[in-house]
């Protein structure tokens, strides 16, 4: 059963915005993946987006592309990613894990086998970047069968009709891609993001997470004040982790980088609209 509805219920009661770091499974090291996930939780992560490496990550910027290439070079596979989630669950039963990746590895495993294996491992939600809602009937059915949340992306360019489709098919939350671009690109107009997110929350009646391009705690705080349900910190974190010399340093880097985010979100607690 997905932990996401429970998480967002708790957060709503507390008036708090979720901190959701993104890391690529298998990077910056193979062995260090699970300890890093625990470190993210210690640093205040309310949920974790775990990137499933793919050879052709067409929606990702250079930082996540390189992380993906390194992870694949170390032998990371979808099966291995699920094994890591299972290992993480031995010590952590409460932090939701959302897999984020591309359709083809899932298709290669078979959507049904994947959904069953992911549910068994302890995954909560799945984002497949190149799976449009229109093409998703089979995958959505399989994910729902195993009580996983299919999470869709919406973008500044999405039409009202597409918002309605995502409302119908998606669950858990909706990932609002805060800019017209790839992961890690520069974002300027946070006011517009805040306005758009507020509108989407009403229309969707579902939590809205904002991601792509959030680099600092001030931005996260601004989005929290504007009512976003979650902020996703991806490229900025992955970039810092890439420089770590060993697993311990990667964990320290993650802690150091995320603590200000966690602080700012706590300070905004209860102030959310």
């Amino acid at each position: 059963m997905s932990r996401l509805p429970g998480l967002f219920r708790t957060l709503r009661e507390a008036g708090r915005t979720a901190l959701v770091p993104f890391v690529t499974a298998g990077d910056p090291s193979f062995q260090g993946t699970v300890p890093l996930l625990h470190a993210l939780v210690s640093a205040g992560a309310d949920a974790i987006e775990l990137g499933v490496p793919f050879s052709d990550p067409m929606a990702d910027g250079p930082v996540i592309q390189r992380a993906s290439e390194r992870a694949l070079g170390r032998g990371a596979t979808l099966r291995q990613v699920l094994a890591w989630v299972q290992e993480f669950r031995e010590k952590n039963r409460h932090t939701p894990i959302i897999l984020m990746g591309y359709l083809n590895p899932v298709e290669a495993m078979g959507a049904e086998r994947f959904a069953e294996a992911a549910a068994t491992a302890g995954v909560d939600g799945v984002i497949l970047v190149d799976l449009t809602p229109e093409e998703s009937a089979h995958e959505v059915q399989m994910l729902h069968r195993f009580h996983l949340d299919p999470i869709f992306l919406l973008a500044p360019t999405s039409s009202p009709a597409r918002v309605a489709t995502v409302k119908r098919l998606g669950s858990g939350f909706v990932y609002y891609v805060s800019l017209r671009g790839i992961t890690g690109a520069e974002q300027q107009d946070w006011d517009e993001v805040a306005r758009r997110t507020a509108r989407l929350r009403q229309e969707l009646e579902m939590p809205v997470a904002v991601g792509f391009g959030i680099r600092d705690a001030a931005t996260a705080g601004y989005l929290a004040a504007a009512g976003c349900d979650a902020v996703v910190i991806g490229s900025a974190l992955v970039d810092r982790l890439a420089g770590a010399r060993d697993d311990r340093e990667a964990q320290e880097v993650a802690m150091e980088f995320l603590l200000p985010f966690s602080d700012v979100l706590s300070r905004h607690m209860g102030k959310r609209t």
Binding site: M58, N104, M109, D130, I182
Partner: protein, 399 residues
């Protein structure tokens, strides 16, 4: 045309095709699809397209009876559809003209493209200049090396060539990078995809801009031989010259359609680019189709002597034609393509592109098994000038 009606409204060719992209691109694809539909119903658009094909591209190009090579082979008569005589030297310009006119109609001033052999990049750079647009071409580092003269041509034409260093540094990575550019500049930018792949509506649209190849060839064949060809042969990278040739023959059951993939060093070595012959269905670059992938669904590196065939996927319509049995897909190895390259150069006085040499190799294999009153129609998709460095290097010669 008779019964064949593909794709459906959502771009599906049976289970293949469709639209698998990041959300940010969906509205751009919807806008493109609407604009394309409108353009098709506008006689002025079609008149301009065909006018440009005549005046700028140089169509119709000949269907040439390769009589000497046919006599040597002692079997079927081989006819070459001379796409190599088009302006810029390959079939790619047909589609580039079509998409650039569409871009202009949509008010987009910036064209982007991916390229492998550089022919599509050159074609896009050419039409961008022709219509006064900005142009950026993405090309893998490996292809920049082996097709350097085309890189220089693009720069001469005023295009910016972006060297792609991610992944395998070939066509598939150039495509990824072009998609990333498009996501980022979707308001003012038109992505000119160079083959019958990508998300809906590209496979259908690109096929339709190239169907002129088969339509001309069909009429020319009837005129010159009094009947339809027995076999149509074309090389298949993404599959655009093949779809252009095949499409007007799909409803003619007497005409065999044969697509030739890059056999590289041989299928047994794994070093090839033959997804239809060896791969399985999956999703890449916006559509479902046959792919070369590992058991985990990661896309494999490919190998071909010809940069234009060095791609792990293939247009979804070919996947459909394969499954339905309407077309057959075979391979020619690097070695066989080289032999065909030399043979056509020496016997007919035509230096073919290495891509097209794969189709020729197949035709040369089939012809001796056929009667001399039968015909094989081959898409000579491009000329070989761009490949002389590769061929020379293979023979130990530095130019």
């Amino acid at each position: 045309m008779g019964q064949y009606h593909q794709p459906d409204e959502q771009g599906h060719f049976g289970p293949y095709g469709g639209r698998f992209v990041a959300e940010t691109l969906v509205p751009a694809l919807e806008e493109l699809q609407d604009a394309y539909r409108e353009a098709l119903e506008d006689p002025a658009f079609l008149a301009e397209f065909h006018g440009e094909l005549r005046q700028f591209v140089g169509r119709p190009n000949p269907l040439y009876h390769a009589a000497r090579v046919s006599r040597d082979l002692g079997g079927a008569q081989i006819y070459l559809k001379r796409e190599d005589l088009n302006h810029t030297g390959a079939h790619k310009i047909n589609n580039a003209v079509g998409q650039a006119l569409l871009a202009r109609r949509m008010g987009k001033r910036r064209l982007i493209a991916e390229t492998g052999a550089g022919q599509h990049g050159v074609a896009t750079a050419t039409v961008a200049t022709r219509y006064g647009m900005e142009c950026v071409v993405y090309m893998g580092e490996e292809d920049v090396r082996r097709q350097s003269s085309n890189v220089y041509r693009m720069r001469l034409l005023g295009a910016e060539v972006e060297v792609v260093t991610g992944g395998t540094r070939t066509l598939k990575d150039a495509l990824n990078e072009a998609l990333r550019d498009w996501v980022t500049h979707v308001d003012n930018t038109f992505y000119v995809i160079g083959t019958v792949a990508g998300p809906h509506p590209y496979p259908e649209m690109v096929r339709n801009f190239h169907r002129v190849i088969g339509e001309e060839a069909r009429a020319q064949c009837l005129e010159q031989t009094g009947r339809l060809p027995d076999i149509c042969v074309a090389c298949v990278g993404g599959g655009s010259n093949a779809m252009g040739l095949f499409y007007p023959f799909i409803d003619e059951p007497s005409v065999r359609l044969v697509g030739v993939e890059a056999g590289g060093l041989g299928l047994g070595t794994g070093k090839h680019a033959a997804p239809l012959c060896t791969g399985r269905p999956g999703v890449l670059h916006g559509n479902r189709t046959y792919l070369m992938e590992d058991p985990d669904g990661q896309i494999l590196a490919t190998h071909s002597i010809s940069a234009g065939l060095d791609y792990p996927g293939v247009g979804p319509e070919h996947a459909y034609l394969k499954d339905t049995g309407r077309a057959e897909y075979v391979v020619a190895t690097d070695e066989e393509a080289m032999e065909a390259f030399h043979r056509l150069s020496r016997v007919e006085g035509i230096i073919p592109a290495l891509e097209s040499s794969h189709a020729l190799a197949c035709a040369f294999r089939l012809a001796p098994q056929m009667r001399s009153d039968q015909t094989i129609l081959v898409s000579l998709s491009g000329r070989g000038d761009k490949d002389i460095h590769t061929v020379a290097a293979r023979e130990g010669i530095t130019l």
